[in-house]
Symmetry: C2
Subunit: 219 residues, 2 copies
Amino acid sequence: MFMISFTEENYLKALLRISFDSGETGVGTNELASHLGVKPATANDMLKRLRDKALVDFEKYKKITLTREGKNIATEVIRKHRLWETFLYEKLEFSWDEVHDVAEQLEHIQSSKLIDKLEKFLDYPAFDPHGDPIPSKGGELTKQFRKTLLDIPVGQLCKMVAVKDNSSAFLQYVVKVGLGINNEIYVQSRQEYDALMVIEVNGVASSVSEKFAENIYVV
Amino acid sequence: MFMISFTEENYLKALLRISFDSGETGVGTNELASHLGVKPATANDMLKRLRDKALVDFEKYKKITLTREGKNIATEVIRKHRLWETFLYEKLEFSWDEVHDVAEQLEHIQSSKLIDKLEKFLDYPAFDPHGDPIPSKGGELTKQFRKTLLDIPVGQLCKMVAVKDNSSAFLQYVVKVGLGINNEIYVQSRQEYDALMVIEVNGVASSVSEKFAENIYVV
DNA sequence: TAATTAAGTTAGACTAATCTAACAATTTTA
DNA sequence: TAAAATTGTTAGATTAGTCTAACTTAATTA
């Protein structure tokens, strides 16, 4: 098996995440490029290299899909990412919004022994600190149907189980509203015009935007 | 402060290690190149870049030294390396000879918060699993005068405190002889001709070469 | 359906890190 | 001290990953 670089791993991971989030198999070049913060031309070059390595499939001007091997690698990277996040949160006392950026680096450490031992040390966790499922060794990224706060009607109570956006900026905002995993949220009202919502968490009411609401997963 | 790459960090670390081990301040290009497994020309190119960044000092055809800033970065990399080794050994149950290679990757993770929290989690260890001292935050690599097994006269008892060579190959050999940190060694005999020694560890006698003996630190 | 806009690709260039081969300076030694 | 050996440097090339600018194809819409 040939060497796979740090950068290639990031492309594969992005492809899996995008297709997973959108629910569609194929991913576009521009979509991928903007997700990775590179220019479409750059992504196009890399995609050709990944195709040569049989990690992605696509025809000129058509959507991109991961091959089985590409998907396996991407899943493994996500597995590592989420295990490291769990380690940082549970063992090193990192806060919820700090774990992502460091895990972005740690996920690329090459040592299957390391990740297996880490998993054991953490006692085989099923979810990371953001509520996302951790794939098992050689496993799949499980598709769980999830509602967002946007789907909850006015007057209903729900419970936050995970977040979609893992950026530090968003998570700090979530903390500021008084929210965390497993907190209950009561939907007080919603504006027709711009979907601005008033929610109540632990007795404190806050206004949140549509963009905010669609990044909060609830049950 | 400008960005410092993975590779640059390795060059700085190598410069510190070589000058530390040899006891001399200046390091030669060939010496550095062979330590890193690259060609002298490659090392020379990199050294010019490091000089531009004010991390090393040297004049054409002269020995290379680290600047204060270069030394600080190198020391920090070594600090990270040794803390990660301690983590792998103590928390993840890695064996003594397995920790080095993984720590070579982990030492380049950029997050001062991570390394401070890791140090706290490990309860501020002073030595890594190979017996080498862990520099404190912002500290120096302490020069400890150390004798090797080669310095012990026939008929004398000593105690192994550390190893010089951290390669997996060497460490596996050490384990095979029945040696570990803090084990007592009795020097039974030594050949004049090639310095071949017979040592006794826990009642078991073994023959070891000069090369082996000079990589074992004792008190 | 033809024109416009969006999406995707190509060509050519740049930087970092590496190499080989040739050359220059320094050190050793006969 | 002159020749040989060692050590260090330069020039020119290569690869991965990125860019800009120009171009092509596909999708949308008037």
